[in-house]
């Protein structure tokens, strides 16, 4: 039996799935429902100072869909909690007392003054919460007031505020990073320098989700106007995973624990984030799309995969893929792969052919001996994987490594030795 229990910065939870700081964690009612459903922990929706902020009184969300209307991306213009600070603090204290085995981290966002941070971290500590998450990420609304992403985009501010929090609180401090920057390593290094116990990422991405072509208003529309919001959901997962890996493999931050966030919808998404270096994960959009019950799929799916892969506990696979993330110049240029089409699985839609023919390398037939048939032409195939990407049938087209003989495309023998761009003769900067 595998053990899903998680220990993140000394904060224990029965599984590595936390609900991210967001609407699902804004109230006791919601959080209790989440714990009853089986979630391992929550990051309580960001607290601010009184008077409480206000939200728009119209639509806050917009979405993009796949053709079958599966939600692929969600955008929001909601701000931090719009309830009085004491209301939230009271509820946090009560829920933590009632659910001692669940992780209770509290997200915070106050103006960039030492006294403001000193004041609020004390109040949170008094609730019995397990940790702090500093919201340096929200890209909309609060950033106009010098908070959220406005802090997260300036490494010096990150370091400064992190240091204050560490100074005035004994709780673990997680710094939540904004992806709306050019190099995620800079804010992560700043958090590290400020003494952060961990980083969590990504927060949402600045976005306009859609435009109403009748009214010419961006969506969500407030009285005919829109404002950029924060983008999240399945579509942002690749961006988030790259940023997690960048921090995990940066020598300066390699030992900085990471809580992975960004489009995690299934157990597989979670496992991928964790193999890239996240010790746990935070989920929001998937819960907002399907409800809290998805935790059952997340936990059983992860457990079943761990069991089949021979992993007994989370640490057995956390970071296992990190060493395999490299700069492009280090990739093996002598690795040769060719597409192979399983003719028994092929349903003859021809999409592999037409995309290869129109947009790539003319390496897949459409007819063979006058019959409709799709076969790879090894003499043309560069192994690009586009056919695999567009094939509607799982595992019908595979990329097969060629380990011996001659590459039919180049006419050159397969070279078993590792060689990369740094030494390639076409590289003007290569030593060779």
């Amino acid at each position: 039996m595998v053990d899903l229990s998680s220990n993140f910065l000394g904060i224990s939870s029965p599984n590595p799935f936390w609900l991210a700081s967001a609407p699902p964690t804004d109230k006791e009612t919601n959080v209790v429902r989440a714990f009853e459903a089986g979630w391992g922990g929550v990051v309580w929706k960001t607290l601010g100072e009184d008077p409480n902020i206000v939200n728009v009184n119209g639509p806050r969300y917009g979405a993009i869909y796949s053709a079958d209307r599966t939600l692929m991306g969600l955008n929001n213009i909601e701000l931090i909690t719009d309830r009085p600070l004491q209301t939230n603090l009271d509820e946090i204290a009560r829920v933590k007392k009632d659910w001692p085995d669940r992780a209770m981290v509290v997200s915070l966002m106050v103006p960039c003054e030492e006294s403001n941070w000193k004041n609020i971290v004390k109040k949170v500590e008094d609730t019995g919460a397990d940790g702090l998450e500093l919201n340096f990420g929200c890209p909309h609304g609060m950033s106009e007031r010098g908070m959220g992403a406005a802090v997260g985009q300036v490494p010096e501010y990150i370091q400064m505020v992190t240091a204050w929090c560490k100074q005035y609180s004994s709780l673990p401090v997680i710094v939540k990073l904004t992806p709306n920057i050019t190099d995620i390593r800079m804010p992560a290094r700043a958090a590290n320098a400020g003494g952060a116990d961990a980083v969590s990422l990504i927060n949402t991405i600045s976005s306009i989700i859609s435009v109403n072509l009748d009214t010419m208003s961006p969506e969500p529309s407030i009285d005919g106007w829109g404002s950029h919001g924060g983008y999240c959901g399945p579509a942002v997962k690749p961006i988030a995973m790259n940023m997690v890996a960048e921090i995990a493999r940066d020598p300066e931050t390699a030992n900085l624990p990471i809580s992975g966030i960004g489009g995690i919808t299934t157990w597989r998404d979670a496992a991928e984030f964790m193999t890239l270096g996240a010790q746990n994960v935070q989920v929001c959009t998937a819960a907002m799309t399907y409800g809290f019950k998805i935790i059952d799929e997340l936990t059983t799916g992860l457990a079943n995969w761990m069991e089949s892969a021979g992993y007994n506990k989370l640490d057995d696979f956390v970071g296992k893929a990190t060493p395999n993330v490299k700069d492009w110049q280090n990739l093996n240029l002598n690795y040769i792969a060719k597409a192979k089409i399983d003719q028994d699985a092929c349903i003859s839609c021809g999409r592999c052919h037409v995309v290869c023919e129109d947009t790539s390398h003319q390496a897949i037939t459409s007819t063979v001996n006058g019959e409709r048939r799709f076969e790879v032409i090894d003499e043309e195939c560069v192994g690009c994987n586009l056919c695999v990407s567009v094939c509607p049938v799982d595992n019908c087209i595979t990329m097969e490594q060629q380990t011996s003989g001659v590459d039919a495309r180049t006419g050159k023998p397969i070279n078993p030795n590792y060689e990369n761009w740094t030494t390639h003769p076409n590289n003007p900067a290569s030593a060779g």
Binding site: D68, C349, G350, V354, R372
Partner: protein
């Protein structure tokens, strides 16, 4: 009797797809390269494109894609045996044995375009050429529409009071509810430049020679005007009727409940007409309806889907039985004597064993033939139909033919539409060269 059943006559066999259903279904299309469905469609509609246009909420663009190849896309969406055409070859059959519902999606778009009352076309400048089209059925109106698009003036002659041909007179009511056949004919004619003259029959009001003299070209799409004779001397009995006449009578009646069929109905034949007549008889309240066919069920011209439709409506299919004689009392047929058949030396022969099936009425659906007037024209025939080439040209340089009266007929609405379209393009080329 059967008051609930009779509602089915005027109820769509398939309810139209809602927008949600259409979006979900359109998402199943893989947008195949060189799609097999397009090849299987007699009119060559770009099916992946029209479905993709549905999925992107562009139903009018989708309808234009359909109408570009098949101006009867609305009717074909309702009556095409898609299970033996486009949907049979859908790659989703290979994937999960369930094709994309191409026919129902086609109806979704075409309904929306027709509801706008507008056609997505601009006619070419007038050519001052005048073409006669004989027959206002699918072949004739398809031809007329395409000719009008090219700027030609068209006069359509039809023997009957309404346009539409078999769409109006020859198919089951439940396939074309809400007067769809007339609405579609009106929609097609709204392109303009087409005059329809009704109750003008070839051989009576005009002849092929007179048309050739008065027009620059002639298209003949008259279908099959006569009915095969089973040799049963049925004419003397008023409770024996040709199925095509029965269907026409039912379609044209103001109150279907007034069309009586009796409690026990025998339909002799095995094609779509036999099924349409049998199922409608059942809906009219007949208790026992049998379709009796002389060959095996697998050899019926009616598609498997149509056979199953009949069976689920309570029609009995009996096969390997050929009619031998009618049994009558007081001037009414009370039963039909059938002889069992079997195949010997690749031919169908009677076994000598007979069975008598009692009935209150008999509907004959054993096929139709080219009308006598057409047979007596100077046009060359092939197997009893007007001989045409791949462009629908007859033996006369000024005459084209299409639909069921032409030698390359396929006994399908969609094929008739295609032949009219091909003929129009051929006529257009011929007339353009002439003026060049």
């Amino acid at each position: 009797m059967g008051s609930g059943l009779i509602q089915k006559l005027s109820t769509d066999l398939h309810q139209p797809l809602s927008k949600h259903e259409a979006l979900v279904e359109s998402d199943r299309c893989y947008f195949c390269h060189d799609a097999p469905c397009v090849t299987a469609c007699p009119t060559g509609i770009d099916i992946p494109l029209f479905i993709r246009q549905i999925s992107t909420d562009n139903p009018l663009g989708s309808a234009k894609t359909i109408f570009d190849e098949n101006i009867f896309g609305g009717m074909c969406a309702r009556v095409c045996p898609t299970e033996t055409l486009c949907e049979q070859v859908c790659v989703r059959n290979t994937a999960e044995e369930r094709p994309v519902k191409i026919g129902e999606l086609q109806r979704y778009s075409t309904d929306q375009m027709m509801n706008t009352g507008k056609q997505p076309y601009t006619k070419a400048a007038p050519t001052n050429k005048h073409v006669a089209v004989v027959g206002a059925g699918p072949a004739g109106l398809s031809c007329a529409h395409r000719l009008a698009l090219h700027g030609h003036t068209v006069t359509v002659f039809d023997a009957l009071p309404k346009a539409g041909g078999l769409n109006e007179y020859g198919i089951a009511a439940y396939k074309t509810v809400d007067n769809f056949a007339q609405r579609e004919a009106d929609y097609i004619l709204s392109i303009g430049g087409i005059e329809v003259k009704h109750e003008q029959r070839l051989g009576d009001a005009f002849t092929l020679e007179s048309l050739k003299a008065d027009f620059d070209a002639v298209f003949v799409g008259i279908g099959l005007g006569d009915v095969n004779d089973a040799g049963l001397n049925a004419d003397q009995y008023k409770n024996v009727e040709n199925a095509v006449d029965f269907i026409a009578r039912l379609r044209q009646s103001q109150n279907p409940a007034d069309v009586s069929v009796g409690r026990r109905v025998i339909v002799i034949g095995g094609g779509m007409t036999a099924i349409d007549a049998a199922v409608q008889s059942k809906m009219l309240g007949a208790e026992d309806v049998s379709v009796i066919y002389r060959r095996a069920q697998s050899q019926m011209n009616a598609s498997t889907y149509e056979q199953e439709l009949a069976q689920t409506n309570g029609v009995l299919l009996k096969t390997q039985l050929q009619p031998k004689s009618l049994i009558a009392e007081s001037g009414l047929v009370t039963g039909v004597e059938f002889e069992y058949t079997e195949v010997q030396n690749n031919g169908l022969v009677g076994t000598g064993e007979t069975i008598t099936v009692a009935c209150d009425s008999v509907l004959m659906a054993i096929g139709q033939t080219l009308s006598e007037q057409a047979q007596q024209s100077e046009l060359e025939l092939a197997n009893g139909r007007i001989q045409v080439d791949e462009e629908q040209r007859s033996s006369d340089a000024k005459v084209w033919a299409g639909g069921d009266c032409a030698s390359n007929f396929e006994d399908l609405t969609v094929a008739a539409v295609q032949s009219g379209k091909l003929a129009a393009e051929s006529i257009h080329r011929a007339l353009s060269n002439k003026s060049a």
